[in-house]
Amino acid sequence: MNSENEFSILFNLNGDEIHYLGDPTRRLLNVLREDYHLTGVKEGCGEGECGACAILVDGHLYNSCLMMPYQINHKSVLTIEGFRDSKRFEIISRAFEAAGAVQCGFCTPGMVMATEALLRKNPHPLRDEIASFMSGNLCRCTGYDMIIKAVMIASEAGDGLW
């Protein structure tokens, strides 16, 4: 059987073409943090429930703690580090500040990526749609009201950007 313990993939990471050669079953979370030093990707629960490790793959929201490198073969991965130089990040970042949606900050990169994923899908979400879309991102500080408000502020301030 032609099995592989070294696995080769090509993917785009924050705009750079990357060739990864290594264990195909390492967690993508570890690959991003350890190999590419993208420490904005956080490990919270490690089982897909908290969203601290959220990234975008081809524009859609994923938990990197549940993924392995083979799942991003020929895809585009965006982490908070790659997103932070964009106009949309600036809008979301200001909205989070204005609403007081950041306290300890550990969930924030994941919340920001989830906000971006939501606004790409639905530029003007209703309150319930925000709560439902963000239900996979946990915050133990804010109580969520400020985060939901932040998404609404971003949606309004960034009208036409998404």
Binding site: P24, T25, S135, G136
Partner: protein
């Protein structure tokens, strides 16, 4: 460290590997990874791991006049975005995990994981879903109702994989999927109740009632369905002790970390009653 990893180039390649080797199949991995991972982040799979989600032959949705076929490795969110998938099925799928989990998780994974709390299963049972299993020897069809026989156990052979799920386009006048979890979003079911049915001349017709996390496998209660058909909702509600008796005998809820048996049964009965009450005034 994984024993071995095999990345199939095609469906045929995957089937050939399955016929020759002992293999652990993985689709989205949202259950398998969580079950397997150590706190350090390392995963130990005891068999050769073979991913399936990238194979085009296992993805997508096809539809004809009478049925919808969902290929096994189609992501849950892709299914939610497809216009031909019936709303009752979508409502159940929408209750699974969160946006990010539904991007990764697949319908075939939810079925083959065979969890008593798999949230697509009561709705698929209500729809009499048929599964197509494939091996190098060919295809065979199995009813979902016959496929899962114990928690985590299915009748799939080691050389087979789940190719697709076919559901008929049912006509219905009422449906409801009620999921009770610790919170609304991103929770595993304490219990779930799925009901769907038609109304003919003011009487209940072709009703289907199925239950999740109320026993070792998701289950349909066909004798209660038969009792209800061709009766009015008020007649059914007047004879509620018969329904209660049927459900109490056939549902086998347990006490576990998420809930307890008495709560599960009581809420299942109440939700069933609520669903039947929705057939009144028609």
């Amino acid at each position: 460290m994984v024993k071995a990893f095999y990345y199939p180039r095609s469906l045929n390649d995957a089937l050939e590997q399955l016929s020759e080797n002992e293999i652990l199949l993985i689709a989205g991995g949202t259950d398998l990874v969580v079950k397997t991972i150590h706190w350090t982040g390392h995963m130990d799979f005891n068999k050769t791991l073979m991913p399936l989600s990238h194979l085009p032959a296992l993805r997508g949705i096809s539809t004809d006049d009478t049925s919808v076929t969902i290929f096994a490795a189609t992501s849950l969110n892709t299914i939610l975005g497809h216009p031909s998938v019936p709303d009752p099925i979508k409502q159940a799928i929408r209750s699974i995990g969160s946006e990010s989990i539904r991007n990764l998780g697949t319908l075939g994974g939810n079925i083959c994981n065979a969890s008593p709390a798999g949230d697509s299963l009561p709705a698929l049972l209500g729809y009499d879903a048929m599964l197509t299993l494939q091996s190098v020897q060919g295809k065979r069809m199995v009813k979902l109702a016959d496929f899962i026989h114990a928690p985590g156990k299915t009748r799939i052979r080691p050389d087979e994989l789940l190719l697709s799920v076919t559901i008929p386009k049912l006509s219905y006048d009422r449906y409801r999927f009620s999921k009770i979890g610790q919170r609304k979003g991103c929770a595993i079911s304490k219990l779930s109740v799925f009901g769907i049915g038609r109304i003919e001349n003011g009487l209940i017709s072709d009703i289907r009632l199925s239950y999740g996390a109320l026993g070792p496998v998701p289950i349909r209660i066909t004798d209660a369905e038969r009792f209800m058909n061709r009766k009015s909702a008020s007649e059914v509600l007047d004879n509620w002790d018969i329904i209660e008796n049927s459900l109490e005998t056939q549902l086998k809820p347990i006490d576990d970390l998420r809930s307890d048996a008495a709560y599960r049964l009581e809420v299942a009965l109440n939700l069933t009653k609520e669903f039947i009450a929705s057939f009144t005034h028609c």
